[in-house]
Protein backbone atom coordinates (compact mmCIF):
# COMPACT_ATOMS: atom_id res chain seq x y z
CA UNK A 1 0.00 0.00 0.00
CA UNK A 2 2.82 2.31 0.85
CA UNK A 3 4.18 1.68 -2.59
CA UNK A 4 0.93 2.82 -4.12
CA UNK A 5 1.04 5.90 -1.98
CA UNK A 6 4.59 6.65 -2.89
CA UNK A 7 3.77 6.20 -6.54
CA UNK A 8 2.05 9.56 -6.32
CA UNK A 9 5.31 11.21 -5.39
CA UNK A 10 7.17 9.21 -8.01
CA UNK A 11 4.76 10.27 -10.72
CA UNK A 12 5.02 13.94 -9.90
CA UNK A 13 8.76 13.57 -9.77
CA UNK A 14 8.79 11.90 -13.16
CA UNK A 15 6.62 14.65 -14.63
CA UNK A 16 8.96 17.35 -13.43
CA UNK A 17 12.01 15.39 -14.57
CA UNK A 18 10.75 14.66 -18.06
CA UNK A 19 9.55 18.21 -18.61
CA UNK A 20 12.80 19.66 -17.40
CA UNK A 21 14.86 17.22 -19.42
CA UNK A 22 13.17 17.84 -22.72
CA UNK A 23 13.01 21.58 -22.34
CA UNK A 24 16.67 21.93 -21.55
CA UNK A 25 17.59 22.52 -25.17
CA UNK A 26 15.24 25.42 -25.51
CA UNK A 27 16.21 26.84 -22.15
CA UNK A 28 19.85 26.77 -23.10
CA UNK A 29 19.16 28.44 -26.40
CA UNK A 30 16.91 31.28 -25.25
CA UNK A 31 17.06 31.62 -21.50
CA UNK A 32 14.57 34.01 -19.96
CA UNK A 33 14.04 35.87 -23.20
CA UNK A 34 11.94 32.88 -24.21
CA UNK A 35 9.16 34.32 -22.14
CA UNK A 36 9.48 37.85 -23.41
CA UNK A 37 10.02 37.16 -27.06
CA UNK A 38 7.10 37.89 -29.35
CA UNK A 39 8.30 35.94 -32.32
CA UNK A 40 7.21 32.35 -32.79
CA UNK A 41 8.84 31.24 -35.99
CA UNK A 42 9.51 27.52 -36.33
CA UNK A 43 10.91 27.98 -39.81
CA UNK A 44 13.62 30.38 -38.69
CA UNK A 45 14.08 28.53 -35.44
CA UNK A 46 13.30 31.52 -33.23
CA UNK A 47 10.86 30.89 -30.43
CA UNK A 48 9.29 33.52 -28.23
CA UNK A 49 6.41 32.51 -26.02
CA UNK A 50 4.96 35.88 -25.07
CA UNK A 51 1.95 35.70 -27.42
CA UNK A 52 0.91 32.44 -25.79
CA UNK A 53 1.34 33.76 -22.29
CA UNK A 54 -0.69 36.80 -23.27
CA UNK A 55 -3.39 34.65 -24.81
CA UNK A 56 -3.59 32.38 -21.80
CA UNK A 57 -3.78 35.26 -19.36
CA UNK A 58 -6.30 37.32 -21.29
CA UNK A 59 -8.65 34.46 -22.09
CA UNK A 60 -8.54 33.29 -18.47
CA UNK A 61 -9.20 36.81 -17.23
CA UNK A 62 -12.23 37.23 -19.47
CA UNK A 63 -13.44 33.86 -18.25
CA UNK A 64 -13.08 34.88 -14.60
CA UNK A 65 -14.82 38.21 -15.09
CA UNK A 66 -17.77 36.48 -16.72
CA UNK A 67 -17.84 33.35 -14.59
CA UNK A 68 -17.34 34.60 -11.03
CA UNK A 69 -20.54 36.63 -10.64
CA UNK A 70 -22.55 33.85 -12.22
CA UNK A 71 -20.93 31.01 -10.31
CA UNK A 72 -21.06 32.70 -6.91
CA UNK A 73 -24.61 33.84 -7.60
CA UNK A 74 -25.65 30.30 -8.40
CA UNK A 75 -23.93 28.99 -5.28
CA UNK A 76 -25.68 31.54 -3.08
CA UNK A 77 -29.04 30.84 -4.64
CA UNK A 78 -28.81 27.07 -4.45
CA UNK A 79 -27.37 26.99 -0.93
CA UNK A 80 -29.35 29.69 0.84
CA UNK A 81 -32.13 31.21 -1.17
CA UNK A 82 -33.90 28.61 -3.20
CA UNK A 83 -36.85 26.51 -2.11
CA UNK A 84 -35.71 23.20 -0.72
CA UNK A 85 -37.12 20.87 -3.39
CA UNK A 86 -35.22 22.77 -6.09
CA UNK A 87 -31.84 22.31 -4.46
CA UNK A 88 -30.99 18.82 -5.63
CA UNK A 89 -32.07 19.24 -9.26
CA UNK A 90 -30.28 22.59 -9.60
CA UNK A 91 -27.04 21.33 -8.16
CA UNK A 92 -27.28 18.27 -10.37
CA UNK A 93 -27.67 20.47 -13.43
CA UNK A 94 -24.61 22.50 -12.53
CA UNK A 95 -22.62 19.33 -12.09
CA UNK A 96 -23.83 18.23 -15.49
CA UNK A 97 -22.05 21.20 -17.00
CA UNK A 98 -18.87 19.84 -15.45
CA UNK A 99 -19.32 16.46 -17.08
CA UNK A 100 -19.26 17.82 -20.62
CA UNK A 101 -15.88 17.08 -22.20
CA UNK A 102 -13.77 19.92 -23.49
CA UNK A 103 -13.96 18.77 -27.11
CA UNK A 104 -17.76 18.89 -27.01
CA UNK A 105 -17.62 22.44 -25.69
CA UNK A 106 -15.29 23.19 -28.57
CA UNK A 107 -17.62 21.64 -31.10
CA UNK A 108 -20.50 23.71 -29.79
CA UNK A 109 -18.22 26.71 -29.74
CA UNK A 110 -17.30 26.41 -33.41
CA UNK A 111 -20.77 25.79 -34.78
CA UNK A 112 -23.06 27.60 -32.37
CA UNK A 113 -21.22 30.17 -30.26
CA UNK A 114 -18.90 31.57 -32.94
CA UNK A 115 -21.65 32.27 -35.46
CA UNK A 116 -23.71 33.85 -32.67
CA UNK A 117 -20.83 36.09 -31.73
CA UNK A 118 -20.05 36.90 -35.32
CA UNK A 119 -23.58 37.80 -36.30
CA UNK A 120 -25.19 39.26 -33.19
CA UNK A 121 -22.91 39.94 -30.31
CA UNK A 122 -19.77 41.32 -31.87
CA UNK A 123 -21.46 43.87 -34.14
CA UNK A 124 -23.45 45.07 -31.13
CA UNK A 125 -20.34 45.32 -29.00
CA UNK A 126 -18.49 47.17 -31.75
CA UNK A 127 -21.31 49.65 -32.08
CA UNK A 128 -21.92 50.40 -28.40
CA UNK A 129 -18.57 49.72 -26.78
CA UNK A 130 -16.17 50.17 -29.65
CA UNK A 131 -14.76 53.33 -28.09
CA UNK A 132 -12.92 51.19 -25.54
CA UNK A 133 -10.64 49.85 -28.23
CA UNK A 134 -11.46 46.34 -27.08
CA UNK A 135 -13.96 45.59 -29.77
CA UNK A 136 -12.31 46.50 -33.02
CA UNK A 137 -11.57 44.75 -36.21
CA UNK A 138 -13.55 42.30 -38.30
CA UNK A 139 -15.95 40.12 -36.34
CA UNK A 140 -14.68 36.65 -37.06
CA UNK A 141 -16.69 35.01 -34.35
CA UNK A 142 -13.72 32.93 -33.31
CA UNK A 143 -11.06 34.74 -31.36
CA UNK A 144 -10.17 35.82 -27.86
CA UNK A 145 -13.71 36.72 -26.90
CA UNK A 146 -15.08 33.34 -27.97
CA UNK A 147 -12.34 31.60 -26.00
CA UNK A 148 -13.12 33.69 -22.93
CA UNK A 149 -16.83 32.96 -23.12
CA UNK A 150 -16.37 29.22 -23.56
CA UNK A 151 -13.87 29.11 -20.70
CA UNK A 152 -16.30 31.03 -18.52
CA UNK A 153 -19.01 28.44 -19.05
CA UNK A 154 -16.52 25.67 -18.35
CA UNK A 155 -15.22 27.01 -15.07
CA UNK A 156 -18.57 27.95 -13.54
CA UNK A 157 -19.24 24.43 -12.20
CA UNK A 158 -16.03 24.14 -10.23
CA UNK A 159 -16.31 27.62 -8.74
CA UNK A 160 -19.94 26.96 -7.82
CA UNK A 161 -19.27 23.57 -6.32
CA UNK A 162 -16.36 24.66 -4.13
CA UNK A 163 -18.18 27.84 -3.10
CA UNK A 164 -21.16 25.73 -2.06
CA UNK A 165 -18.88 23.47 -0.09
CA UNK A 166 -17.32 26.32 1.87
CA UNK A 167 -20.68 27.96 2.44
CA UNK A 168 -22.05 24.71 3.83
CA UNK A 169 -19.00 24.43 6.07
CA UNK A 170 -19.92 27.62 7.90
CA UNK A 171 -21.43 26.38 11.18
CA UNK A 172 -25.11 26.76 11.86
CA UNK A 173 -24.53 28.78 14.99
CA UNK A 174 -23.04 31.62 12.97
CA UNK A 175 -26.16 31.82 10.83
CA UNK A 176 -28.34 31.73 13.95
CA UNK A 177 -26.32 34.47 15.62
CA UNK A 178 -27.07 36.85 12.75
CA UNK A 179 -30.72 35.85 12.45
CA UNK A 180 -31.27 36.34 16.19
CA UNK A 181 -30.19 39.97 15.82
CA UNK A 182 -33.11 40.51 13.48
CA UNK A 183 -31.54 40.17 10.05
CA UNK A 184 -33.22 39.54 6.73
CA UNK A 185 -32.22 36.40 4.88
CA UNK A 186 -29.84 38.20 2.56
CA UNK A 187 -28.26 39.96 5.53
CA UNK A 188 -27.83 36.60 7.22
CA UNK A 189 -26.13 35.24 4.11
CA UNK A 190 -23.95 38.32 3.75
CA UNK A 191 -22.81 38.65 7.37
CA UNK A 192 -23.17 35.11 8.67
CA UNK A 193 -22.06 33.01 5.72
CA UNK A 194 -20.23 34.86 2.96
CA UNK A 195 -18.15 36.83 5.37
CA UNK A 196 -17.02 33.73 7.19
CA UNK A 197 -16.41 31.87 3.95
CA UNK A 198 -14.58 34.59 2.07
CA UNK A 199 -11.19 32.90 2.08
CA UNK A 200 -12.75 29.74 0.74
CA UNK A 201 -14.67 31.58 -1.95
CA UNK A 202 -11.44 33.24 -3.01
CA UNK A 203 -9.94 29.77 -3.17
CA UNK A 204 -12.82 28.56 -5.32
CA UNK A 205 -12.25 31.42 -7.74
CA UNK A 206 -8.55 30.70 -7.94
CA UNK A 207 -9.29 27.04 -8.59
CA UNK A 208 -11.47 28.18 -11.45
CA UNK A 209 -8.56 30.23 -12.71
CA UNK A 210 -6.32 27.18 -12.52
CA UNK A 211 -8.75 25.20 -14.58
CA UNK A 212 -9.00 27.97 -17.16
CA UNK A 213 -5.23 28.26 -17.50
CA UNK A 214 -4.82 24.61 -18.41
CA UNK A 215 -7.87 24.19 -20.59
CA UNK A 216 -6.90 23.01 -24.04
CA UNK A 217 -9.36 21.62 -26.53
CA UNK A 218 -12.30 24.00 -26.35
CA UNK A 219 -9.96 26.97 -26.45
CA UNK A 220 -7.96 25.58 -29.36
CA UNK A 221 -11.11 25.14 -31.35
CA UNK A 222 -12.36 28.70 -30.98
CA UNK A 223 -9.44 30.99 -30.41
CA UNK A 224 -8.27 31.30 -33.98
CA UNK A 225 -4.76 30.04 -33.37
CA UNK A 226 -2.76 33.03 -34.42
CA UNK A 227 0.34 33.92 -32.44
CA UNK A 228 -0.31 37.62 -32.12
CA UNK A 229 -0.76 40.12 -29.35
CA UNK A 230 -3.68 42.40 -30.11
CA UNK A 231 -5.69 44.74 -27.95
CA UNK A 232 -9.03 43.91 -29.51
CA UNK A 233 -10.94 40.97 -28.10
CA UNK A 234 -12.23 40.21 -31.57
CA UNK A 235 -8.74 39.28 -32.71
CA UNK A 236 -7.62 35.69 -32.90
CA UNK A 237 -5.09 34.59 -30.33
CA UNK A 238 -3.17 31.60 -29.10
CA UNK A 239 -2.73 30.05 -25.68
CA UNK A 240 0.08 28.02 -24.18
CA UNK A 241 -2.00 24.87 -24.13
CA UNK A 242 -3.30 25.42 -27.67
CA UNK A 243 0.08 25.83 -29.30
CA UNK A 244 1.22 22.58 -27.76
CA UNK A 245 -1.95 20.83 -28.90
CA UNK A 246 -1.68 22.12 -32.44
CA UNK A 247 2.01 21.92 -33.12
CA UNK A 248 3.45 19.16 -30.97
CA UNK A 249 2.95 16.30 -33.41
CA UNK A 250 4.22 18.45 -36.27
CA UNK A 251 7.36 19.55 -34.51
CA UNK A 252 10.15 17.91 -36.38
CA UNK A 253 13.29 19.54 -35.07
CA UNK A 254 14.58 19.04 -31.58
CA UNK A 255 14.63 22.74 -30.78
CA UNK A 256 11.02 23.17 -31.86
CA UNK A 257 9.91 20.27 -29.73
CA UNK A 258 11.99 21.49 -26.82
CA UNK A 259 10.41 24.94 -27.03
CA UNK A 260 6.97 23.39 -26.87
CA UNK A 261 7.95 21.27 -23.89
CA UNK A 262 9.30 24.37 -22.19
CA UNK A 263 5.91 26.00 -22.62
CA UNK A 264 4.42 22.86 -21.10
CA UNK A 265 6.78 23.12 -18.15
CA UNK A 266 5.86 26.75 -17.59
CA UNK A 267 2.18 25.85 -17.74
CA UNK A 268 2.74 23.02 -15.28
CA UNK A 269 4.53 25.23 -12.75
CA UNK A 270 1.99 28.02 -12.96
CA UNK A 271 -1.00 25.71 -12.52
CA UNK A 272 0.66 23.98 -9.57
CA UNK A 273 1.25 27.22 -7.75
CA UNK A 274 -2.22 28.49 -8.50
CA UNK A 275 -3.87 25.24 -7.40
CA UNK A 276 -1.78 24.96 -4.26
CA UNK A 277 -2.72 28.49 -3.22
CA UNK A 278 -6.36 27.81 -3.93
CA UNK A 279 -6.42 24.58 -1.94
CA UNK A 280 -4.83 26.28 1.05
CA UNK A 281 -7.51 28.98 1.02
CA UNK A 282 -10.31 26.45 0.75
CA UNK A 283 -8.82 24.29 3.47
CA UNK A 284 -8.70 27.26 5.83
CA UNK A 285 -12.48 27.35 5.81
CA UNK A 286 -13.29 23.68 5.63
CA UNK A 287 -10.53 22.65 8.08
CA UNK A 288 -9.06 19.94 5.94
CA UNK A 289 -12.19 17.88 5.63
CA UNK A 290 -11.48 15.63 2.64
CA UNK A 291 -13.08 17.28 -0.36
CA UNK A 292 -16.11 15.55 -1.74
CA UNK A 293 -15.50 13.93 -5.06
CA UNK A 294 -16.62 16.17 -7.89
CA UNK A 295 -17.19 15.22 -11.48
CA UNK A 296 -14.42 17.55 -12.54
Amino acid sequence: MLICGLSLLVIVGVIVYELALHSKLSWKAFGLSFFTGRDWDPVLGSFGALPFIYGTVVSSLIALILAVPMAVGVAIFVTEMCPRPLRAPLSFLTELLAAIPSVVYGLWGIFVLAPLLREQVQPALARYAGWTGLFEGPPYGVGMLAAGVILAIMIVPIITSITREVMLAVPRHQREAVLALGATRWEMVRVGVLRNARAGIMGAIILGLGRALGETMAVTMVIGNRAEIAKSLFAPGYTMASVIANEFSEATEDLYLSALVEIGLALFLVTIIVNALARLLVWSVTRGVPARVHAQ
Binding site: G5, L8, A71, V103, T184, G214, M217, M221, S249, T271
Partner: protein, 292 residues
Protein backbone atom coordinates in the same frame (compact mmCIF):
# COMPACT_ATOMS: atom_id res chain seq x y z
CA UNK B 1 -33.77 57.41 14.81
CA UNK B 2 -34.79 55.87 18.09
CA UNK B 3 -38.11 54.22 18.75
CA UNK B 4 -38.85 53.67 22.43
CA UNK B 5 -35.13 54.02 23.12
CA UNK B 6 -34.38 50.93 21.08
CA UNK B 7 -32.45 50.84 17.86
CA UNK B 8 -34.99 49.87 15.29
CA UNK B 9 -34.75 50.54 11.60
CA UNK B 10 -36.58 53.62 10.50
CA UNK B 11 -39.38 52.88 8.06
CA UNK B 12 -37.21 53.91 5.16
CA UNK B 13 -34.39 51.67 6.28
CA UNK B 14 -36.71 48.76 6.88
CA UNK B 15 -38.02 49.18 3.37
CA UNK B 16 -34.52 49.36 1.96
CA UNK B 17 -33.59 46.16 3.78
CA UNK B 18 -36.61 44.27 2.49
CA UNK B 19 -35.84 45.56 -0.98
CA UNK B 20 -32.21 44.48 -0.76
CA UNK B 21 -33.37 41.04 0.26
CA UNK B 22 -35.68 40.75 -2.72
CA UNK B 23 -33.10 42.11 -5.14
CA UNK B 24 -30.44 39.73 -3.88
CA UNK B 25 -32.79 36.80 -4.34
CA UNK B 26 -33.74 38.01 -7.81
CA UNK B 27 -30.17 38.53 -8.95
CA UNK B 28 -28.96 35.17 -7.74
CA UNK B 29 -31.95 33.49 -9.36
CA UNK B 30 -31.10 35.28 -12.60
CA UNK B 31 -27.58 33.93 -12.39
CA UNK B 32 -28.98 30.43 -12.19
CA UNK B 33 -31.07 31.08 -15.29
CA UNK B 34 -28.03 32.48 -17.09
CA UNK B 35 -25.99 29.41 -16.31
CA UNK B 36 -28.73 27.07 -17.39
CA UNK B 37 -28.95 28.72 -20.81
CA UNK B 38 -25.67 27.35 -22.20
CA UNK B 39 -26.38 24.00 -20.57
CA UNK B 40 -29.67 23.72 -22.39
CA UNK B 41 -28.14 25.10 -25.57
CA UNK B 42 -25.34 22.56 -25.62
CA UNK B 43 -27.51 19.57 -24.88
CA UNK B 44 -30.15 20.89 -27.23
CA UNK B 45 -27.80 21.23 -30.15
CA UNK B 46 -26.20 17.89 -29.40
CA UNK B 47 -29.55 16.23 -29.68
CA UNK B 48 -30.75 18.22 -32.67
CA UNK B 49 -27.59 17.92 -34.73
CA UNK B 50 -26.47 14.58 -33.45
CA UNK B 51 -29.50 12.39 -33.33
CA UNK B 52 -30.03 12.45 -37.06
CA UNK B 53 -26.50 11.35 -37.66
CA UNK B 54 -26.29 8.52 -35.17
CA UNK B 55 -27.38 5.48 -37.05
CA UNK B 56 -26.35 1.90 -37.24
CA UNK B 57 -23.77 2.68 -39.90
CA UNK B 58 -22.23 5.29 -37.66
CA UNK B 59 -21.88 2.87 -34.82
CA UNK B 60 -20.48 0.00 -36.84
CA UNK B 61 -18.45 1.39 -39.70
CA UNK B 62 -15.02 2.89 -39.94
CA UNK B 63 -14.48 6.27 -41.57
CA UNK B 64 -14.75 6.59 -45.33
CA UNK B 65 -12.02 8.37 -47.27
CA UNK B 66 -11.95 12.12 -47.02
CA UNK B 67 -14.88 13.84 -48.62
CA UNK B 68 -17.03 10.79 -49.10
CA UNK B 69 -20.39 10.57 -47.42
CA UNK B 70 -21.08 7.85 -44.92
CA UNK B 71 -18.90 5.76 -42.73
CA UNK B 72 -18.81 5.93 -38.99
CA UNK B 73 -16.79 6.03 -35.82
CA UNK B 74 -16.93 2.43 -34.80
CA UNK B 75 -13.16 2.16 -34.66
CA UNK B 76 -12.98 5.26 -32.49
CA UNK B 77 -15.52 3.90 -30.03
CA UNK B 78 -13.69 0.62 -29.76
CA UNK B 79 -10.35 2.38 -29.68
CA UNK B 80 -11.49 4.51 -26.77
CA UNK B 81 -12.53 1.34 -25.04
CA UNK B 82 -9.08 -0.15 -25.50
CA UNK B 83 -7.28 2.95 -24.29
CA UNK B 84 -9.58 3.27 -21.28
CA UNK B 85 -9.01 -0.35 -20.43
CA UNK B 86 -5.27 0.20 -20.36
CA UNK B 87 -5.78 3.42 -18.39
CA UNK B 88 -7.94 1.69 -15.81
CA UNK B 89 -5.48 -1.13 -15.35
CA UNK B 90 -2.90 1.46 -14.36
CA UNK B 91 -5.03 4.00 -12.56
CA UNK B 92 -7.41 1.81 -10.57
CA UNK B 93 -4.94 -0.36 -8.64
CA UNK B 94 -2.57 2.52 -7.92
CA UNK B 95 -5.42 4.83 -7.00
CA UNK B 96 -7.17 2.41 -4.68
CA UNK B 97 -3.87 1.37 -3.16
CA UNK B 98 -2.89 4.94 -2.44
CA UNK B 99 -6.34 5.65 -1.04
CA UNK B 100 -6.15 2.64 1.27
CA UNK B 101 -2.72 3.70 2.41
CA UNK B 102 -3.88 7.21 3.24
CA UNK B 103 -6.95 5.98 5.07
CA UNK B 104 -5.49 3.14 7.06
CA UNK B 105 -1.82 3.74 7.51
CA UNK B 106 -1.15 7.34 6.72
CA UNK B 107 -0.51 9.53 9.70
CA UNK B 108 0.81 13.03 10.03
CA UNK B 109 3.40 14.43 7.72
CA UNK B 110 3.69 11.63 5.19
CA UNK B 111 -0.06 11.48 4.66
CA UNK B 112 -0.36 15.25 4.33
CA UNK B 113 2.38 15.35 1.75
CA UNK B 114 0.77 12.55 -0.23
CA UNK B 115 -2.65 14.15 -0.09
CA UNK B 116 -1.20 17.42 -1.27
CA UNK B 117 0.62 15.59 -4.06
CA UNK B 118 -2.62 14.00 -5.17
CA UNK B 119 -4.22 17.41 -5.36
CA UNK B 120 -1.26 18.76 -7.30
CA UNK B 121 -1.51 15.87 -9.74
CA UNK B 122 -5.19 16.59 -10.17
CA UNK B 123 -4.50 20.13 -11.25
CA UNK B 124 -1.92 19.27 -13.90
CA UNK B 125 -3.30 20.30 -17.31
CA UNK B 126 -4.12 17.24 -19.35
CA UNK B 127 -1.97 18.39 -22.25
CA UNK B 128 1.06 18.30 -19.98
CA UNK B 129 0.21 14.70 -19.14
CA UNK B 130 0.28 14.08 -22.85
CA UNK B 131 3.77 15.51 -23.09
CA UNK B 132 4.97 13.33 -20.24
CA UNK B 133 3.45 10.18 -21.70
CA UNK B 134 5.02 11.11 -25.03
CA UNK B 135 8.47 11.44 -23.56
CA UNK B 136 8.14 8.33 -21.42
CA UNK B 137 6.56 5.94 -23.87
CA UNK B 138 6.35 7.26 -27.39
CA UNK B 139 9.97 8.29 -27.52
CA UNK B 140 11.05 5.00 -26.02
CA UNK B 141 8.92 2.94 -28.37
CA UNK B 142 9.55 5.11 -31.39
CA UNK B 143 5.90 5.30 -32.39
CA UNK B 144 2.47 6.37 -31.20
CA UNK B 145 0.38 3.77 -29.44
CA UNK B 146 -2.78 3.09 -27.52
CA UNK B 147 -0.57 2.11 -24.65
CA UNK B 148 0.98 5.54 -24.33
CA UNK B 149 -2.49 7.08 -24.40
CA UNK B 150 -3.53 4.67 -21.69
CA UNK B 151 -0.57 5.69 -19.56
CA UNK B 152 -1.47 9.36 -19.82
CA UNK B 153 -5.12 8.78 -18.95
CA UNK B 154 -4.29 6.23 -16.29
CA UNK B 155 -2.13 8.63 -14.37
CA UNK B 156 -4.91 11.20 -14.58
CA UNK B 157 -7.31 8.78 -12.95
CA UNK B 158 -5.19 8.24 -9.88
CA UNK B 159 -5.89 11.37 -7.77
CA UNK B 160 -9.67 11.14 -8.13
CA UNK B 161 -9.72 7.46 -7.20
CA UNK B 162 -7.28 8.00 -4.34
CA UNK B 163 -9.34 10.75 -2.73
CA UNK B 164 -12.62 8.90 -3.18
CA UNK B 165 -11.21 5.68 -1.76
CA UNK B 166 -9.67 7.43 1.21
CA UNK B 167 -12.87 9.28 2.00
CA UNK B 168 -15.01 6.18 1.81
CA UNK B 169 -12.60 4.04 3.82
CA UNK B 170 -12.52 6.69 6.54
CA UNK B 171 -16.27 6.51 6.77
CA UNK B 172 -16.18 2.85 7.76
CA UNK B 173 -16.64 2.98 11.53
CA UNK B 174 -13.73 1.89 13.63
CA UNK B 175 -15.87 -0.67 15.37
CA UNK B 176 -15.79 -2.77 12.21
CA UNK B 177 -12.01 -2.81 12.16
CA UNK B 178 -11.79 -3.47 15.85
CA UNK B 179 -14.18 -6.39 15.61
CA UNK B 180 -11.95 -7.99 12.98
CA UNK B 181 -8.73 -7.27 14.82
CA UNK B 182 -10.29 -8.59 18.00
CA UNK B 183 -10.90 -11.87 16.21
CA UNK B 184 -7.21 -12.12 15.53
CA UNK B 185 -7.22 -11.14 11.85
CA UNK B 186 -4.00 -9.48 10.73
CA UNK B 187 -4.01 -5.75 10.03
CA UNK B 188 -3.49 -5.90 6.29
CA UNK B 189 -6.04 -8.67 5.96
CA UNK B 190 -8.55 -6.60 7.92
CA UNK B 191 -7.98 -3.71 5.60
CA UNK B 192 -8.47 -5.64 2.42
CA UNK B 193 -11.10 -8.20 3.33
CA UNK B 194 -13.16 -6.32 5.86
CA UNK B 195 -12.79 -2.56 5.60
CA UNK B 196 -12.40 -2.38 1.85
CA UNK B 197 -15.27 -4.73 1.28
CA UNK B 198 -17.51 -2.56 3.44
CA UNK B 199 -16.52 0.47 1.40
CA UNK B 200 -16.80 -1.19 -2.00
CA UNK B 201 -19.75 0.78 -3.33
CA UNK B 202 -18.02 4.07 -2.57
CA UNK B 203 -14.80 2.92 -4.18
CA UNK B 204 -16.65 1.89 -7.31
CA UNK B 205 -18.26 5.33 -7.32
CA UNK B 206 -14.86 6.99 -7.29
CA UNK B 207 -13.56 4.73 -10.03
CA UNK B 208 -16.53 5.41 -12.27
CA UNK B 209 -16.25 9.16 -11.76
CA UNK B 210 -12.56 9.06 -12.67
CA UNK B 211 -13.43 6.93 -15.65
CA UNK B 212 -16.10 9.33 -16.85
CA UNK B 213 -13.71 12.20 -16.52
CA UNK B 214 -10.88 10.72 -18.59
CA UNK B 215 -13.22 9.16 -21.13
CA UNK B 216 -13.81 12.61 -22.58
CA UNK B 217 -10.19 13.73 -22.60
CA UNK B 218 -8.67 14.60 -25.94
CA UNK B 219 -5.53 16.60 -25.31
CA UNK B 220 -3.42 13.83 -23.79
CA UNK B 221 -4.19 11.59 -26.75
CA UNK B 222 -3.16 14.06 -29.44
CA UNK B 223 0.39 12.84 -29.55
CA UNK B 224 0.19 9.53 -27.77
CA UNK B 225 -2.59 7.44 -29.21
CA UNK B 226 -2.60 9.85 -32.12
CA UNK B 227 -5.66 8.44 -33.85
CA UNK B 228 -6.24 5.99 -36.65
CA UNK B 229 -8.65 5.81 -39.57
CA UNK B 230 -8.83 2.04 -39.34
CA UNK B 231 -9.58 -0.67 -36.85
CA UNK B 232 -6.86 -1.33 -34.35
CA UNK B 233 -6.79 -3.57 -31.34
CA UNK B 234 -3.05 -3.69 -30.94
CA UNK B 235 -2.05 -1.61 -27.94
CA UNK B 236 1.26 -0.88 -29.55
CA UNK B 237 -0.16 0.88 -32.55
CA UNK B 238 -1.73 4.30 -32.97
CA UNK B 239 -5.39 3.98 -32.17
CA UNK B 240 -8.50 5.98 -32.83
CA UNK B 241 -10.40 7.46 -29.89
CA UNK B 242 -13.83 9.00 -29.85
CA UNK B 243 -12.86 12.44 -28.51
CA UNK B 244 -9.90 12.60 -30.91
CA UNK B 245 -12.09 11.77 -33.86
CA UNK B 246 -14.63 14.39 -32.86
CA UNK B 247 -11.85 16.97 -32.75
CA UNK B 248 -10.36 16.02 -36.10
CA UNK B 249 -13.74 16.07 -37.77
CA UNK B 250 -14.88 19.29 -36.13
CA UNK B 251 -11.94 21.32 -37.38
CA UNK B 252 -12.05 19.82 -40.84
CA UNK B 253 -13.64 21.68 -43.75
CA UNK B 254 -16.09 18.91 -44.65
CA UNK B 255 -19.79 19.16 -43.85
CA UNK B 256 -20.14 15.39 -43.74
CA UNK B 257 -17.45 15.18 -41.09
CA UNK B 258 -19.08 17.98 -39.14
CA UNK B 259 -22.29 16.00 -39.12
CA UNK B 260 -20.46 12.97 -37.80
CA UNK B 261 -18.67 15.06 -35.23
CA UNK B 262 -22.04 15.94 -33.70
CA UNK B 263 -23.01 12.31 -33.74
CA UNK B 264 -19.79 11.34 -32.03
CA UNK B 265 -20.26 14.05 -29.45
CA UNK B 266 -23.77 12.83 -28.70
CA UNK B 267 -22.54 9.27 -28.22
CA UNK B 268 -19.67 10.45 -26.01
CA UNK B 269 -21.93 12.61 -23.86
CA UNK B 270 -24.46 9.84 -23.55
CA UNK B 271 -21.79 7.49 -22.25
CA UNK B 272 -20.34 10.02 -19.82
CA UNK B 273 -23.60 11.38 -18.49
CA UNK B 274 -24.91 7.86 -18.25
CA UNK B 275 -21.95 6.90 -16.09
CA UNK B 276 -22.33 9.98 -13.88
CA UNK B 277 -26.07 9.37 -13.48
CA UNK B 278 -25.50 5.77 -12.47
CA UNK B 279 -22.85 6.90 -10.02
CA UNK B 280 -25.25 9.34 -8.42
CA UNK B 281 -27.87 6.67 -7.99
CA UNK B 282 -25.34 4.28 -6.50
CA UNK B 283 -23.87 6.99 -4.28
CA UNK B 284 -27.20 7.86 -2.80
CA UNK B 285 -27.71 4.34 -1.57
CA UNK B 286 -24.46 2.49 -1.92
CA UNK B 287 -21.94 4.54 -0.02
CA UNK B 288 -24.02 4.59 3.09
CA UNK B 289 -25.08 1.03 2.62
CA UNK B 290 -21.50 -0.01 2.52
CA UNK B 291 -20.39 1.97 5.50
CA UNK B 292 -23.17 1.07 7.92
Amino acid sequence: MRNNGSYQSSRLTALRRRLSNSIATAISATMVALVLVPLLAIFGYLVIRGIGAVDWAFLTHTPKPVGEVGGGMANAIVGSGLILLIASSIGVPLGIGAGIYLAEYGRGQVASVLRFTADVLNGVPSIVMGIVAYSLVVLAQGHFSAFSGGVALGIMMIPTITRATEEVMLMVPNSVREAALGLGIARWRTTVSITLRTATAGVITGVMLAFARVAGETAPLLFTAFGNQFWNLDPNQPTAALPLQIFTYAISPFDEWHRQAWAGALVLIALIVGTVAVVRLVARRGVFQGAS
